[in-house]
């Protein structure tokens, strides 16, 4: 191994895009909370961003091959942590998701997402053939299935769902065969279908999850529950129009009609105040971010690096898709935040650590 990579090798474009997205987030968190009891939240978010940035640079210095070497141990740590959460976790909003770390409550499942990205990258990198055998596919599935089951138990459907695209994208890039893809798609369709089919969902979903599904399908039946949340979000987005109502002028946002407007529904607040033009900017930035990640994957030095970067891309892309689709009422409320715009410590740290992995891969693309 030669000298450690220099600062020139960092992906400054990627960082610029990230900075822009974070800026939009901080601006909107400020707008959504400045007049309320939550005032000052944007500064807390800035603090999280600072911590995240430091962690990102720290992680980028550590050769990702060393990290991948430790994948089995990381996996073990992840599973133990999840069990610990179920055993002694701190309950908030009706779910056990938090473990006290350094005086803050961290969502262990965010950490687990990162670990699964690493574990899957290692797993798929070890596949030597160009085609993914059914045997390997099932192994990968089991590898994801265990933590997924534990996360569902918290319950945290959102994070559990995020593990799925990691598996799907990883398998696809590892040479998933079309007939396997067809079978998985069929199974996926059946699973989603059963979730929306009450006699089956009764057995596999928690009551609050089923409620979210029904209120998504019939928002008018549940005017103050999550159906109300979706409706209010749509009203906020729609009433923003093309040009938006202006910074701090969104009535849905300022008067509190948008649920958790500083976090999961921040896109709703942004769309109301900044209009379609603002949405164009935000989604444009996310698209640039994702495409930049894919580009980094394409230029990775090896398969392992590529899988690592694409795991991050899959996780972030899925977050953006599910969150934004929820904001426009096209998906049920799942509690998945919008990366870097939504307020939240654990989620922010996850994104920066994930980007740290990407930087790590990039920094070593010429190193040999």
């Amino acid at each position: 191994m030669k000298d450690a990579p220099g600062t020139r090798d960092y992906d400054w474009w990627l960082l610029a895009i990230l900075a822009a997205i974070c800026a939009l987030g901080v601006i909107e968190i400020y707008s959504a909370t400045h007049g309320s009891a939550l005032a000052g939240m944007h500064m807390k978010q800035v603090r999280w961003l600072g911590v995240g940035l430091v962690l990102m640079f720290a992680l980028s210095r550590l050769d990702y091959h060393l990290i991948l070497d430790q994948a089995p141990i990381l996996y073990l740590i992840g599973v133990v942590a999840l069990v610990a959460v179920l055993a002694f976790g701190h309950t908030r909003f009706g779910a056990k998701r938090w473990l006290p770390v350094l005086g803050e409550f961290l969502q262990v499942s965010e950490l687990v997402k990162l670990i699964i990205i690493i574990v899957l990258a290692r797993f798929f990198a070890e596949v030597q053939s160009d085609e993914l055998s059914l045997r390997d596919l099932i192994k990968a599935g089991l590898l994801v299935g265990l933590p997924l089951g534990l996360i569902l138990k918290q319950p945290d459907l959102g994070t559990a769902l995020v593990l799925m695209p990691l598996l799907v994208v990883g398998a696809f890039l590892a040479g998933l065969q079309w007939q396997h893809a067809a079978i998985i798609s069929l199974a996926g369709v059946l699973l989603v279908g059963s979730v929306f089919f009450p006699p089956v969902s009764k057995h596999i979903l928690k009551p609050y999850q089923r409620e979210r599904i029904t209120s998504f399908l019939h928002p008018e039946d549940d005017a103050k529950g999550s159906g109300y949340q979706l409706l209010q979000s749509k009203i906020a987005v729609g009433s923003g129009g093309f040009w938006g109502k202006g910074f701090g002028n969104g009535s849905q946002n300022q008067l509190g009609y948008i649920p958790v407007r500083y976090s999961d529904f921040i896109m709703s607040a942004w769309a109301e105040e900044q209009g379609f033009k603002g949405v164009l900017l935000a989604l444009g930035l996310y698209m640039a971010l994702l495409l930049r990640l894919v580009q980094n994957a394409q230029r990775a030095k090896d398969r392992a690096g590529m899988f690592l970067v694409m795991g991050v891309a899959a996780a972030l892309g899925f977050h953006v898709l599910v969150n934004v689709a929820m904001v426009i009422g096209a998906m049920p409320v799942t509690g998945i935040p919008l990366p870097l715009m939504s307020y939240g410590g654990s989620a922010t740290l996850f994104v920066f650590l994930a980007i740290g992995l990407v930087m790590n891969v990039r920094l070593r693309r010429f190193v040999n």
Binding site: K224, I235, S251, I328
Partner: protein
Amino acid sequence: MSIWFRNDNRLPQGRLAIVSYIIVGMIGVLLLGFWKLQVIDSDRYGVMAERNRVRSIPIIAPRGRMLDRDGRVLVDNYPSFSVLLLRDDAALVEKNLPAIADGLGISLDELHDQLNNTKALPKFQPIVIKPEATKADVAFIESHRADIPLLEMLMVHRRRYLPDGFMGHASGYVGEVSEQQIEASDGKLRPGDFAGKTGIEKQYNDMLMGTDGMRRVIVNSVGKEVGRLSTQEAIPGKQITLTIDYDLQQIAEQSLGQRPGAVVALDPRTGEVLAMVSRPTPDPNDFAVQVSKEEWKRLNEDPLHPLLNRAIQAQLAPGSVFKIITATAMLEDKVPPESFTTFCPGYATFYGRQFKCWVYFAKTGAKSHGVTNLHDAILKSCDVFFYNVGMRLGIDRLAYYAKKLGIGHKTGIDLPSEEPGLMPSPEWVEKTFHRKWYAGETISVSTGQGAVTTTPLQLARTIGGIASGGVFKQPHMLKDAQNVGEERFAISEPTIEKITDAMYGVINEPGGTGGHLKLTGVELSGKSGTAQVIGYSTRDRLAKQKKFEDNAWFVGYAPKRNPEIVVAVLVQESGQHGGEASGPVVRDIIKTYYDKKAKKNNGQYTVELEHHDLDGDGGKPAVKTAPEPAAKPEDSAKPVPARVASVVAPH
């Protein structure tokens, strides 16, 4: 450390490219979703956002007050709070209905009824679900603002009437508008509005009712008001001045007491109604909020008919008061001639049937009036004399005069639901009963018995009009009424002279039926009447139940010619002669009238007009308070005390 996966640079470039396309496609689809909401459906969501944000709260216009002729307040308002239900969100309403019903102590069924009844109204318009909020209700609403953001309090003005049903029948009362009223109002009235239901409240509703305003406020997601957009002030209803004289009304109420009956005092020169009482009476204050179904049922089924304004709606035989009409007809037609006399042995026989004179039953035991002429017959109210006059005049002439003098048709007073009474005639029996007129019926009618019926107001107008020389002014309650109607019926001067002399004699000559009513210094005149509820013979057969006792009338006026005041009093089923039961009421009122007039002339009488505005801080609780008692008789000259209640903040 495994090393073999390093440097494996087989990258699936093709599949990575596919992922790029998927990313672009995904963002594109999401943008399409935003385009649909923000560009295509933007207006619809804009309206919804506005509806979220803006809440319209009506500002109820106070009804105009009613003043007496001297400017004293007879009917005014006090502020109170109604509970409003916001119905924009039907599902939310449905969900919270049980909690609301429980919290406000209303039955769930009743709430459902109210919602069903107001289905046709626009959703953004809140409805009143409880008209009078108690302190507990206010506390309930305030403490549940966040979880039940559907309730709002509305300041309303409740009607306040003088206590004990003072002038209650004349003033009428207000109530929630009925469906018929809403339909008839051309969109002016909406469900939940209060409007006059009876009496002056109904008659002059358009004047009294103001125009409600509207406050548009910004509310946050938990229903808390955070700002105000615009305020359209309410336009208060017009204050009206009535012809009622508080002092005379007061004495009329007291003098009649709790006996069932009615009093009407008119100024025959103008037609102004100076006092109007009907007993029994409900307290209109009981209707000002909401009368319960049970109470309403009770009032409707009460055998004494407390909802009937006897002054204009009781249609009863006028008894001997009618003899003034028979006498006028006789003198004008000269049939029989003025010099006509009869001998009254206590009865008369026509067509083989015996008709008794009241003197036959008189407590004095006189049994006979002896030989009487017209003057004596009016004084002593001799039935036999008028039986004979009626026989000679015939029903057609009698009916002609009676109708001309105001019997059998409405007086046209500005009150709803006036009854016309009835002057029977051969045509009428033909039409109604398909039979011929019996000659015997003329005999009854000529003494005000039989089918002839009148209202107290009619009798006041008729007697007042005759004493005024045949000028009949339209009775009215509104002081500055325009185009007051007038009917004239030419009565010759000698006739008026003789009739008024006789009526003066009723009180001021020995032997008159109203001799005990004499007032020094006042030319009090009048005529008593005791109408049989059933015939004398039937009454003899039945035990003397109160139910079958007579209606006592007295119509008095002063002065003797061109009177300034005429008072008709009816006391129902008193068991007393008209002069005994009703006469003193007439005398009390006319005495009060002259006492007041004398004081006014001497400058001793002044009416202090109160100065108060409805927004003043009277310090009365908003929750229903009994109005202050009206002035006592001794100090009836004092103005009605100010009855302004202040708003108690709903916190």
